[in-house]
Symmetry: C2
Subunit: 290 residues, 2 copies
């Protein structure tokens, strides 16, 4: 089945699901959005998305995309065990993949399912932030499992291509281990920075006048949607703890070097990652803010 | 003395000094740049800046701006004790202020000096990155001391205004305490993230393909100029250690909450700073990247 002939249903019209709906609507036969929030449905309708309030399992559709927070996705997959949707492809776009792929493995064998994770986003949530171009140029991880058929995988790859992203196939366990450092640890560090600043700013509020683009850049992920992040942290707990322990050990080394006051050793410690980071690109083209 | 009648000399034509030179050249009678690096001098000349290789203490100028790394600024101020420049205003733009203001206090009493710190920048160094608009809309801290005369302070305020920044007067000790959290801690967290990623990426280089704008944003300051940052950390050691200890304690609390697995408590911990950060602006207008 080709994407242009397919009916798509997207469950969850937040930032990610809403952006997928906007991007894929012109590329498929029919696209329907489902969301439990009436305000979200109204926003989506105004943006030209057909919406329904039906049960996802009952959707008359070829492709069912779960774009809900991870725990809600797990709840839906659990419900599908006894009441599976009749679709060509069931996919999700959750930020952690092991528990989701495990849940997909428990589905009746006729349900063709594949896990997905688009490596993009914003720290602001909701359909109001959705944009068709969100995925453009980014990587979209697909985590196939024993429930993935060749034709369902091919359809998932067409969807990724239509979003302007590129496919990277990866095992769920490896994905979860790597994103703990690439994505979840940055969130924890941003949060620790915000909490530290709250503490200092509580005693001297002039702190908030002194924050400039460096602070804003480092703390940006601290604004991420709470439900999404709590689901991510608790479904990737082991890897997140390991990444956090690594960062804690680095900060402890930094503290010791500062106490020691040996400038040469401090420089040696800082230099390799300074060189690496200087060779990497910057987000959004903005570079101000030391 | 008014800025438009003044001769200015800027020592150090890196990102900050170079940007000041570009911004102030059309606003004063004469502007000269001094730098020890022949390539920097060549770049500055090509951008229309008059350059000299003279000794800063001997510069025939009304305003002498030290835009060197903090330790070099301290070295110059030390040399000025016995060989003071004959100027209306001596100012610096170093990122830590206590040691600099202390050194200014040791100058002959006829030297009118004021400490300064523009709260802007980029993580990329050098004149090639300089731009006249760098300071526009940002805060510029001035730390007056007993060597600051009313007329030298007024001239410094004119300079800040000509850069498009706004003046905030502050004691050096308070400045250093607040920037430890607002600026130096973000750098340390960005560095800890980069070092953690180096460690994980060393075992599985596919990590680097999975970093997206959230990682890039959080790690951005890790690319900051090493000499500048080592000077900053070592001249604000006590405050930086205190800010670091605060962040370490927050990360330890996060670790305990993750281990404990109580979602309600984790949410309660994350929520206040999520709300605060969501109400703050973002750097450079870019918001992609969760």
């Amino acid at each position: 089945m080709d994407l242009e002939d397919a009916r798509l249903t997207i469950v969850g019209l937040g930032l990610m699901g809403g952006s997928m709906a906007l991007a894929l609507r012109p590329r498929c036969r029919e696209l329907v959005g489902i969301d439990s929030n009436p305000e979200t449905l109204e926003l989506a309708r105004r943006a030209g998305i057909t919406t329904q309030e039906s049960d996802p399992a009952q959707a008359h559709t070829d492709v069912l995309v779960l774009a809900t927070p991870v725990k809600e996705t797990l709840r839906l997959l659990e419900a599908f065990r006894s009441d599976p949707p009749a679709v060509h492809l069931l996919m999700d776009i959750g930020s952690t993949k092991r528990q989701i792929v495990d849940a997909m493995e428990m589905l009746p064998s006729r349900v063709a399912a594949v896990g997905g994770h688009p490596l993009c986003g914003k720290e602001r949530a909701g359909f109001a932030e959705a944009e068709a171009e969100l995925f453009f140029g980014s990587l979209f991880v697909l985590t196939p499992c024993s429930r993935t058929t060749p034709s369902s995988l091919a359809l998932a790859e067409q969807i990724v291509g239509a979003l302007g992203a590129s496919v990277r196939q990866m095992e769920a366990a490896r994905h979860d281990r790597l994103v703990a450092t690439a994505s979840h640890l940055p969130y924890l560090l941003a949060t620790a920075l915000m909490r530290s600043a709250e503490s200092v700013g509580g005693k001297d509020p002039e702190l908030w006048d002194l924050v400039s683009s460096g602070f804003l850049s480092t703390s940006r992920l601290g604004a991420s949607d709470l439900t999404m992040m709590v689901d991510i942290l608790t479904t990737n707990q082991d890897n997140v703890q390991e990444a956090l322990a690594l960062a804690q050990s680095e900060l402890e080394q930094l503290r010791e070097l500062l106490v020691g006051g040996e400038i040469g050793r401090l420089r040696d410690y800082l230099e390799p990652s300074q060189l690496r980071r200087a060779s990497m690109k910057n987000p959004g083209g903005s570079t101000r803010g030391a």
